[in-house]
Amino acid sequence: MVGAYPSGAGCSWPLRSLYKCPNLKIEEYSVLTNAGRARAMRAPGNVQGTFAFEQMIDTIAEKIGMDPIEFRKINYTDVDPDWGGKYTSKKLIEAYDQGAKAIGWEKRNKPGSGEGTVKRGIGMASQIWWGGGSPPGYATLKLNSDGSLNISSGTQDIGTGTYTILAQVASEILEIPMDKIQVTLGDTETGPYGTASGGSMTAPTMTPAVYDAAVQMMDKLKSGAAAILEVSEDELNYSNGIFTVKNDPQKTIDISKIVNELNARTLVTTGARNANPDGYAINTFGAQFADVEVDTETGKIKVNKIVAAHDIGRAINPMTLNNQIHGGVIQGLGFALFEERIMDSYTGKTVNANFHDYKVPTIKDTPEIVPIIVSETDTLISPVGAKGVGEPAIIPTAAAISNAVYNAIGVRIKSAPMTPDKVLNAINNL
């Protein structure tokens, strides 16, 4: 459904790209509805598509009597099935293996085989998304005469940690402490063009731009140091803001002095996101695992644990990365169990347009979440090696929960959210 105005995203990309399948026919069409227009959503279309598709994959695996992970592994693909491009990196098998271990996959029983009224189940689902970033994207660095650094860019931080990771990348190359770096974002008047918050693009697009600007800054500093110290650039060592002459360690100069001695006041560089490699497919991958309990007398589903194993290239900052995964999983939990726009079909009005009837999960509904990063880096994309995580984190959550629910009760719930009424109706064949 696309609402009253055609816009939005398809749901079929996971079906087309997640597995190797030589004979695949997919038909997808949009339906205009007399409802409000489609709005922005984390991983538009893919949460929905994955919810349906990964349940189908589990169903097929069960029909042929195969373990769902085994089935996914034999249908694994090294190349993008759509056009044959090789992936810059793909660690989906690692996500299956590490996730399965963390959830205790070996404890998984036959569907619906548990005793008692509250039944336990384990399930999983895979994820694919873009998230490699691309040009254009720029960042300007200003090194001040006190040795402090400003980074500015027209991109933004919507709570995801952009400020932190941009500073980190510059700090890593220039060896300037984080507390001497100031980042100015969200203003296209003062900063050069930066990417919009969408497509999990910000980290993989903007960190290489900062990297490029920092490398240029390093070149300027080095040539400045060489000129002032009257040595060649090869004769210099650099560490923690200080150049030292290799053969004469008494001869040193720090970066703030370089700026002053050059009478530059500020050194300025602007970096750009590099082009992506030709002929490659760039994707993020992951697998999430759910451990759930279903109360067969009330229809209520309780999620005990979610393991989220993701291939997102390099983890620049594990803390902000884990926050993204927590946020994605909790939002996915909302999609799986609670959140639904309920529209009166006679009037077309939404009856639950408030935060009380439209139920987002609270902390009491939130399970233990275990993020696992299975990737090291992806240097084919950029020297930084990061892919995005914002959207990957939400994509497989609901599908993993639904497969776990099936494993618990042996009945498929085919529409989200899986509220108690639907579960009871499914159990009692109503």
């Binding site: 007398e297 009166d344 009856v351 009491k364 009871l424």
Partner: protein
Amino acid sequence: MKNFEYIQPGSLNAVSTLSKEKFVSSHLFAGGTDVLGLMKDNIISPDRLINLKNLPNMDKIVYKKGEGISIGTLVKISDIAENEDIMNHFTALAQAAGEVASPQLRNVGTLGGNICQRPRCWYFRGEFDCIRKGGGICYAYEGENKFHCIVGGGPCYIVHPSDTAVALTALNASIKIHSNGTMKEIPIREFFILPEDDPMKENILEPGEAITEIFIPELETGKKSAYIKLKERDVWDFMTVSIAAVADVSGSLINNVELAFGGTAPKPWYDENINKVFINSKISDLETNVKKIFNDSELLSKNKYKLQLIRNLTKRILNNFSA
């Protein structure tokens, strides 16, 4: 929002006089957690709000062993949930209070306000001119009715939203009401009304009347009480279905039981015939006995699951007494 007057009278007589003044629409205000929502959503637009906060002695809990407990109308829901006498002797009420909304709302909402809160039907709370708001049709009847009633409906199909009212109904509480200078006491089982009597009101209160306290008689020896509630979300959610029970269970035998059902009807549902199914029955027969209740329910297009749910929860709450 329309301009309104805000008054904090110091006596019940003043409350009566102020709320009955001709050509002025008045509304009583306790914690305000429901009143303010109703005003913001344009469901009520009173000329005058009468805050009960300054009335003396209405925020007290007094327990007299052997007699019962009196709870002032202004006692906060959170204080009920945590009161030792209520937890020990009227457990269902403490549990029901603990299930209400969220900690913030429980800290502000009062017992009287909780009982008198307006229904949560989303058509009633939304921009629909339905029967309960004086309009001509019930939008829920053929619309989005998964949370609506399965008994007692027509022409309106709300469920009563209050958790505490369900517990108080099972506990056979009575409600003390100040009515134009005199006091009256009404059993809670007669306090709420069905839409067939008046689809625009949920209880018998008339303008000029105010609840002053709620009294619960001491349970007979051997009886205990409990409350269970299914909500979709673990906190900050109204009941899908809830049940309060006062029961005397020895071993595997149910000697006596009084059940009240929430999320089931336009008022906390109490039916002697349901009690009779379980009185002097065995716990081991629950599975068959629950099938005998609510057979006369009128299921709507999207609330069929409630019948099974009510039966399952009845089984569960009674089972818990023998555990």
